[in-house]
């Protein structure tokens, strides 16, 4: 018996979420007394796959088929289901990222499995199968119970972390038996942001709200992000006004993030905003209004003008980073 871990790739590379999921899968397999087997779809560089062994994966099934590059939901779910059947896996894990979210529900239907998404830790018990997940956009934790023999989970980002655990990893070619008819999706164009830290993967996030006054003031935030090695984010009105792209909007209707450190400059801390960021380990708020609700969610705060604080913070961070 084994725990099956779907490790996705972006243009042949495994992202941090993939290694975090591998770490989680290895720990869950240990808890269940089973093997941690990963499945990879599409062309992935072999040294990338090799790295899975650093996080406790003992075996990787590789479906080295270029057609998977289209991230076709239907075809991918079918392939993972085939891998689950071949390995006799009763627990199947995916990252709660764009792709994992898209295919997990299809997979759960195929495998007649119960699905719990946005899981935030190892199962509390295996029988009954009980696991914690985010509900109400981070405003509460639900203790979910899966009643079916087969279980599908998606893991919330940065909820488990990377756990190094070097083991010997073997590879096995895997043919999910798909035909061209399984791949209906055609990619016309891909735009990727290069050289930037992804918001979904960042350990530090620097966000600005309407209190930043206008898009022209973001150069300071970007510089701070760059000295911190952070990603940039914003509140909803900021993206609605077109000051920043939609992809940076965090909160209940935007991205839900859980970095180790979150900076909120000129953000009031509306309940919908907090929903998306309250999973952050440490929150720092800079707001000129001492009564702003963001201070109730924050661990550290500066009551003051964000535009004055930002340059000083850049200097202070540069100093400690030497």
């Amino acid at each position: 018996m084994s725990v099956l871990i779907f490790v996705d790739n972006t243009e042949g590379k495994i992202k941090k979420a993939g290694f975090e999921l591998a770490s989680y899968g290895a720990a869950l397999a240990k808890q269940a007394g089973e093997n941690a087997i990963a499945v990879s779809l599409g062309k992935v560089e072999s040294d990338e796959l090799q790295k899975l062994g650093n996080y406790g994966i003992t075996k990787v099934l590789t479906a080295d088929d270029a057609r998977f590059a289209s991230l076709d939901n239907q075809a991918s779910a079918k392939a993972i289901a085939a891998a689950a059947n071949q390995t006799g896996s009763k627990i199947i894990l995916l990252a709660h990222n764009n792709f994992g979210k898209a295919i997990a529900p299809r997979l759960a239907v195929k495998l007649q499995a119960g699905l719990v998404s946005n899981v935030v830790g190892l199962p509390v018990s295996l029988d009954p199968f009980k696991v914690n997940k985010h509900v109400f956009t981070g405003k509460a934790i639900g203790h979910a119970v899966i009643h079916t023999p087969v279980k599908v989970l998606t893991l919330s980002y940065n909820s488990f972390g990377l756990v190094e655990n070097k083991v010997n990893v073997t590879f096995e070619a895997f043919d999910p038996g798909l035909t061209n008819a399984d791949f209906g999706l055609i990619i016309e164009q891909t735009q990727t942001v290069s050289g930037k830290i992804l918001l979904s993967e960042a350990e530090i996030v620097v966000a600005g709200g309407r209190g930043m006054k206008g898009p022209e003031n973001w150069s300071g935030l970007e510089e701070l992000a760059s000295v911190l090695g952070a990603a940039t984010a914003c509140s909803r009105p900021v993206s609605d006004e077109g000051w920043r792209p939609h992809s940076e909007h965090v909160g209940q209707t935007g991205k839900i993030i859980a970095p180790n450190l979150y900076f909120a400059f000129g953000i009031s801390g509306a309940i919908q905003h907090l929903g998306g960021v309250s999973g952050s380990k440490v929150i720092v708020a800079v707001n000129k209004d001492p009564e702003a609700p963001i201070f109730e969610a924050a661990d550290y705060g500066i009551v003051g003008d964000a535009l004055k604080v930002i340059p000083e913070m850049i200097a202070a961070v540069k100093e400690i980073k030497g």
């Binding site: 509900v135 203790h143 939609h246 550290y300 705060g301 500066i302």
Partner: protein
């Protein structure tokens, strides 16, 4: 072309989340209910498509799984412009249950819209499950959708970027922010018309419950915020390094 939009009935986004005494269920006392924010954007996009000359969209139907108290939410969807509403008469028990109910009514549409998640249980599950059950393609994280003849052209989010993709109908689009600029607000005329539009009630099918919640917890209360002044930026940065250990 016929469009179906799935409508979730969720607590207003400003709701203070509380549970009953033994923490086994969400306390709905005093809660205002709204159309799930992404479903509202999906419906807005569906209406825009219908109004686009030459798009070939004949009708927009909305569907919800809920008891009679969700009809106010469905009437709002009709007021926004949907032609017809369907309610499967049951509490929404879990995502698999909801998708199984919707599978009864979702066949025969060319385009089905679902939201990226429901703002209550954050499942991100109903859309994908439904697509699998009725055997159609699905695309998730969709922020733009155009009809181009017999094909749909969509923009979806991928890790680190976005992608324009095309595929044939029928198709289920799981949408996120951007699919429509602002949710449409019902006008007086729409509200009047909604009263007489058809709202069909359907009996639920039996399915097993695959996932349930044993209980809930609120996150532990945060310690008070440590406040600094504008000229103590240095001290704050040092505290982040030495005390919080996050730098």
């Amino acid at each position: 072309m016929k469009i179906l939009v799935l409508i979730g009935n969720v607590p207003d986004t400003t709701t203070k989340i509380k549970f009953n005494a033994d923490k086994t269920a969400f306390d709905t006392n005093g809660v205002q209910w709204i159309i799930n924010p992404w479903d509202e954007l999906a419906l807005t996009r569906a209406m825009e498509l219908k109004e686009t000359p030459g798009s070939g969209v004949e009708s927009v139907t909305v569907a919800n799984v809920g008891k009679q108290d969700t009809e106010a939410t469905l009437r709002k969807a009709l007021a926004i412009g949907a032609d017809k509403a369907i309610r499967v008469d049951s509490e929404p028990k879990d995502a698999f249950f909801v998708a199984s109910q919707l599978a009864q009514v979702a066949k025969g549409y060319d385009l089905v819209f679902a939201g990226i998640e429901a703002s209550d249980y954050n499942g991100s599950a109903v859309g994908g499950m439904l697509a699998e059950m009725i055997g159609i393609q699905s695309v998730s994280g969709v922020s733009n959708l155009q009809i181009e003849g017999s094909k749909a052209k969509l923009v979806r989010e991928i890790e680190g970027g976005s992608q324009t993709v095309s595929l044939d109908f029928p198709l289920l689009a799981i949408v996120q922010k951007g699919i429509a600029k602002e949710p449409r607000i019902p006008a007086m005329r729409g509200i009047m018309m909604a009263r007489t539009k058809p709202l069909e009630v359907i009996t639920p099918v039996d399915t097993d419950i695959r996932v349930s919640f044993a209980s809930f917890d609120l996150p532990p209360a945060k310690a008070a915020c440590k406040k600094f002044t504008e000229d103590q930026v240095n001290q704050l940065v040092h505290a982040l390094r030495d005390e919080a250990k996050v730098l």
